[in-house]
Every structure is written in C-alpha cells, then in structure tokens.
Symmetry: C2
Subunit: 453 residues, 2 copies
C-alpha cells in the first residue's frame, strides 16, 4: 500500500509540472500573435483559381527544361526556348543603375538589324542572378550565348539570356552550358508549362496567360509566362516575363507596342517598391500566323492585337502581385482627377508603396487617414479639400473630411475581402492611373528577415 | 491493490495526453518564429542610456501640462509653453500636400513682423491630429489660439499650435481651451521634462537634448524636446520638435539656420518613408542671454551657436529613429563619392527606405546584394563597377564585385550589433550624405496592422 501510495504521489508530482508547462506554453503561444506560422512555401491564397491556364501553341516557338543544379537540387532550373528564323524580338528591362550582366547583354542586342532574319534563342536560369559579379558576369553571359548559339544553330547576336537568384555569387555557367545540347535536341512546342515552372525561384505558383484573336478570319495567338515576385532568397524579387505570338509584325512596331503596354501593366504593379537588377520582359513574334501582317501601330488589326497583348500582359502582371511575398490581399488603386496622368500615377504609387497603408490593409483596418497621408507625401499636385476617397463603391471621405454617409462598420466589412479597390479622386483635372499591389504582412518580414538561405 | 493499480493507470492515462500537448505546443511555438512577443509598449531597446538628460533652463520660457482627456485618460495630453516678449520664433514643417490645420496656421504666422515684439505661446495636444477635418479643423485652431492668447496675454498672431494623434476625427477643442487658464497660471521654467512627456503619443520614451556654449565668457543655452515616431494609433507617425534658446538673435537669421540645419538632421532620418501631415519644428530664441547678439550667419558666435544647435537637433532626430516602431537596430548610412550631395542623399535614402534592406538588417543578414539593388533603384548616377560597400570598417564589395578580403562570417558577426554603420562609396565625385534609420521588424507590422485602437 505504502509503495503504491508513493507511486501515486510520484505520478502526481510529475503531473503538476507538466500542467504548468502546458499553461506556460499556451501563454507564450498566445503572446506571439503571428498571423501565420512560418511553415514552408505553399501556394499564395491569391493565386488564380483553376491553376495554370491552357495556352495556345505558338508556331515557331519550342521549349525544353533541365535540372542543371545551378543552385537548387531536384528541380528544373534552366529553360531553353528556340524561335524560328525571322522572329522579331522586342524587350523591356529594369531601369536600375546596377543592372545585371545578362540584362546589359540583352539590351545591346534588342532591335539590332544584324542577323534579324536568323533564328533566335532564349536561355533562362534560376538560382543565381549573375548580378554584381564584375567582369566574371559578362564572361559567363558570353560563354552561355556561345554555347546556346552552337546548340540551337543561331547567331550569338540572337541569343538572349536571363538569370534570377542570388546576387554577387559567380554564376556556374558551365552547369548551364553542359545541358544546352540536350535541351536543343528535346525542343517541344507544347512545353510552355514546363518553361513557366523552370524559371520560378520562390514563386508559389507558375504564371501563364494567353489569348487568341481573329483577323480577317485567321487566328493570331499569344502565350506568355512570368516569374516573380516571390523572393529570390536571399536577395531580391525579380520579374522575368516571356511572351510569344505568331503575329506577323516587324521589330520596330513590336517594340513600340511593348514599351507602351509595359507602362500600362508591369510598370503599374508594386510589391515593396524595391527594383530588381534583373527585371526582363521579352516579346517574340514568329510571323507564322496566316493573318495579315501588322505593319504599324494604327489600323484595326494593330489595335486588336494590342488589346489582346495588353490583356495577356496585365494578367501576368497581376499574377506577379498575387504571388507577392506574404500577400493576403490583392489591391487595385485607381486614381482619377489628377492634374495629369503622371501626377495620378505618382499618387497611386505613393499609396501602393506606403508601409502604413499596406499594414493597415493587412490588418483589415479601413484607415483612410493613411491614404490622405500617402496622397500628401506623393509630390503630386493635391488639394486636401477636393480629395475624395472610396473603398469599392463606399464613399469614405470628400471635401477634406469624412463623408457624412460613411459608416466605419461598412468600411471595416469591406476591408475583410480578399480583393480590394481603393479609389481616390483628386478633383483637379483629367489625369488617371490604376496600379496593383498587395498588403504587407508578418510573413513578408519572415521571408525576408528570419529565413536565411 | 486492484483499486490502486487502477488509480495509477488513470494517472498514466492523464500523463500521456499532457505530454503530447506539451510537444504539440512546443512545436507550434517554434513554428511561429516571432522575434518578440506582442506585449504592450515598453521602452525601445535603442533608447539612450541614462534616460532623459538634465537640460539647461532657458530664461523666458515656461511650461505647464494638463490632463485634458482629448483622447487619452489618465495621462497628460496638453502642453502650454509661454515665451517672453521679443522672442524670435522660427519653424520648419511637413512638406505634405495634405498638411493639417495647425500646420497651415503656424506656417502663416512664422516670420510675420506684426506683433514680433510681443510674448508668444505654444499649445500642443496629443491624441487627435486635427488633420483632414475640413473647415472644422481651421475653426478649432482659431478657438484654441484665441483662448491661449487670452490666457497667456499674448496676441493671437503669436500663438502656435500643434496637434498629433488620430486623423479625420474632429478635435474636441473645448477640452483644450478649458484647461488653458489653469495652465497659464501654473507656468514653470523648470517643467521641460513634463512638456516632453505630455506631447508623447505611442513614443516609448520622452526625448530631450540640450547644450550650453560660451561666447565672450557669457553662456548661451539650448534645450529641446521631441516626439516621434512611435505610431499615433491608428494613424501615422508624427514628429513634433520644440527647441528653446536664450540666444539674442533676430528671426531672419534664426529661420535661415533652422532651415539649413533641418536639412542636415530631421530631413536625414526615416523610419518607414511615410510623411506625416503634421510634422512641426519650432525654434524660439528669447534673447535673455547676456552673450553678444548674433546678427547674421557669419562670424565665430554664429558658427558656434549653429554647431551647438546642430548637435541638439541631431540628437533629437536620432532619438526619434531610436524610438521607431519595432526598431531593434539603429543604422547610420553614410554615402560618399556621389556626383553631388543631392545624388548621395538619394542613394542614402533609397537604402534607408528599402524594405528589403531593412528586413535583412532585422534578420542580421549581411545581405549586401540588397544594398546594390537600392543603389540601382535610387535614380542617382551610379556605376556598378566603381561601387564600394562597407559594414563598419569591413570592406564588403568593391569594383563591381565582392571584395577579395571579405569573409561572410565577419559580415554576419558585424550585423549582430545593435548599432550599425553602412558605408557606400559611389566612386564618382565628392557628393556625400549621411542618414539614419532603423530596421523593419514583425513588431512594426504588429503595431500598424494587428493592433487597432
């Protein structure tokens, strides 16, 4: 009996500290108040429903991917796309003053008349950005271009490369050149989904968009892929975009269209206001379509093509925002009534990049005061007493003060949505701009601070 | 026996799930990886050691504070300072296009010759910013100025007001005017510490700095207080600064000095790149010192005074950064070799405001690639291959690549310090700028998103 009593007491003695430990841990856990536990990457809650779309096959464009082990193991990290002879290639690039070596090389090649009738190739690697790598960086680009030119049977002047990943580490270009012959031999016109996967870094989903239009009864097809702006650990978000079409169009108007539409799409998104050294957008037109050629910017075919291209570019741009690090809200900011379009865009971007606005959105706080603040700091012409602010259809503030009809509960209910529209009317002129962004959450800090690769 | 056995089994049955629960909780807790638990406000880890300094008493300046219940309960929230007849008052204000009503009123009054020989008063309230409050806002300022003028026996044109706190809510000015007579009756030249406390919002410590210099054997004293940039829940960080001196100096040179020194101090700090609608800096010179008058910007007395004033302003500005929301690191960013000073400041501010740089610092990650990125996006003239980056004395990168002597371990060890210096040499010219900032942590997100007042 005595022994058993002793045992029971012992058990009791073990129970108590365990209970205390449970209470202590529960308290600690409650105190952390992290919104999401720092688990591994999972698909962004804002990813398009339905997954990767069915994209039209573009005649004259073929893809293959490989696991070259540039940095990652056990996943594809190099993509080779080949383009049929005569394909026109246009490009848009980061405006950073510290552009990476492959970007400088692409910029120099785009629009050059030499070898314009020959085939072309695009080589992309993930895992290493070949940025801030000094002379070595340029040499690596040269080696890759030479190997790709041999493998694909195109001139070196028609090989375009992109690299995305770690900054400042020498690119192991021999791992890339080692797989190019094999990639050239396995080219497949239907492998665009694979290509979208191979260029991902910390993206949580592959991004694709496409369109088919008819001109004089003949189809013109557009298919594009993109990566970004999941962080390229441990460095920076980079956006890479490749769009292909079978449209018959010369390089000059193609470039003009791309530049104009980039300003309306990819230059209207922001995740954190930081600019990559590697952002690259290439648009290739093979001319394989039987639709009539597009010779200039005017006319119905040019307009229809531009409209379709705009749709594809906007879709890809918005997918990049939807994959923003830690994003839980997709936010459209529409500014009207600016002195001009440039002023409206200044205001829209000031709101979209404001940490105070973005944290308020993360906290589902209808904090319109922070929007007033962002308008004020934007540098654009603004008049406090003409300003109007809307959340969706809800008029929040007007004439320099909160609207009489506004109820805080309505604003709070609106902010609980996943997709938000913030409208700002400056009441000054006809300038307008719309930009897209996401919220700023603890997860962004975790991705960019707590986790070191 | 059987009963006891049963009991022991029961105990065992209770032990197991408890142990499981402990393991589960420990796992959950590990997964949150929050850096700091979200406890209530405590003093910033970067606060100056030794607390609030002993400040010199400025003859001709007196203070009193009151609990007016503008928004908070049980803490002082209104401060009245009175200034002796003839005090020269200079000011610097937010550049926001949506400036708050009290800021507009101060701006209109500063430097006006009318009533310049009369006494003056400063009224500050915490809890309500009187910003974006339409016509009501201007009326509230008028009411407060009239009441303060009566209470302190000074002209309305010599009453300067500041409000800090919630945006868009009408200021209950009657609560402020109700306490002004009492405040005027209780004026005390030694109460500057109380004044520093009364203007706090979510600051975690009161901020003060002072200096005494001698000119021809006679002392000139300077004492200043500041608040910021703890968040004014639920709105924005506002910086308010009041500096007093007994120097004999006219308004015009005082204003010139203030403008120049503001550019070198308060305009060189950033917490999150967002700009308040209410930032206000007032500098009052009573002329009570027996030191010779300072009549212009040149000469030894003017230089000595400016140097001392610069020290006080820089100290207060750095204290504001040290109280930045969620800050765990105090960071000096020194840029040299710019094409000109403006370019150097652009680069310094681009680094200081980059969320990617700031999160890397929070994570103690010597991520110099993000600094290259920030230089590139700054818009300043930069040449990748002339760029050099230093952490303290450690040369990290030069000539477009990582320095041969750099060891990642040394960089990582450096980043574990509380106070960091990041040096960037652009290698182009003689332009230089130094700015101060803090890191971007989960706690910033919590303060600005998770907690709603």
């Amino acid at each position: 009996m005595a022994k058993d009593k002793n045992k029971a007491d012992k058990k009791k003695a073990r129970l108590k500290p365990l209970k205390r430990q449970v209470r202590r841990l529960e308290k600690q856990l409650a105190a952390t108040r992290c919104k999401a536990p720092a688990t591994g990457p999972k698909i962004s809650p804002l990813a398009p429903v339905g997954g990767f779309p069915d994209l039209p096959v573009i005649e004259g464009v073929r893809f293959a991917i490989a696991e070259a082990g540039v940095r990652y193991r056990g996943r594809p990290d190099v993509m080779l796309a080949t383009l049929a002879p005569g394909t026109a290639v246009a490009g848009a690039f980061t405006r950073s003053a510290t552009r990476a070596a492959p970007v400088l090389d692409c910029e120099a090649k785009i629009g050059q008349p030499a070898d314009a009738g020959a085939g072309a190739a695009i080589v992309v690697n993930a895992g290493n950005a070949n940025a801030f790598t000094g002379r070595h960086g340029a040499e690596a680009v040269t080696m890759i271009c030479a190997a790709a030119a041999r493998a694909a049977g195109v001139p070196e002047t028609r090989v375009f490369t992109s690299s995305t990943g770690v900054i400042g580490a020498p690119l192991p270009h021999e791992r890339i050149t080692a797989v190019l012959d094999d990639l050239a031999a396995r080219q497949d016109s239907g492998a665009i989904y694979d290509a979208a996967r191979a260029i991902m870094t910390t993206d949580t989903f592959p991004k694709g968009a496409g369109a088919v239009i008819e001109i004089d009864g003949a189809p013109i097809r557009i298919a594009g892929i993109a990566k970004g702006s999941g962080m390229i650990a441990p460095d920076m978000a980079t956006m890479l975009v490749y769009i292909f079409t079978d449209a018959k169009i010369a390089q000059a108007p193609l470039q003009k269209m791309l530049t104009r539409l980039t300003d309306q799409t990819f230059n209207c998104i922001t995740v954190d206001g930081d600019t990559s050294t590697s952002d690259t957008l290439l648009l290739a037109a093979t001319g394989a379509s039987s639709a009539p050629a597009i010779n200039d910017m005017r006319g119905k075919p040019a307009r229809a093509f531009q409209q379709a291209l705009h749709g594809v570019m906007l879709d890809l741009a918005q997918q990049v925002v939807r994959d923003g690090e830690g994003a839980t809200k997709f936010v459209e900011i529409a500014v009207t009534g600016g002195a001009d379009d440039a002023d409206a865009k200044k205001v829209a971007m000031a709101i979209a990049n404001s940490p105070l606005v973005k944290t308020a959105i993360a906290g589902e706080d209808p904090n319109w005061g922070r929007i007033v603040m962002a308008v004020g700091k934007s540098g654009a012409q603004a008049d406090r007493d003409r300003l109007a602010i809307r959340f969706g259809d809800i008029l929040v503030a007007e004439k320099g003060w909160v609207a009489e009809t506004y109820a805080e509960e309505a604003g709070a209910a609106y902010m609980r949505r996943d997709e938000l529209q913030i409208g700002v009317d400056l009441g000054l002129g006809k300038g307008a701009a719309t930009v897209w962004t996401c919220d700023l959450t603890n997860r962004y800090i975790e991705i960019n601070a707590d986790y070191r690769s």
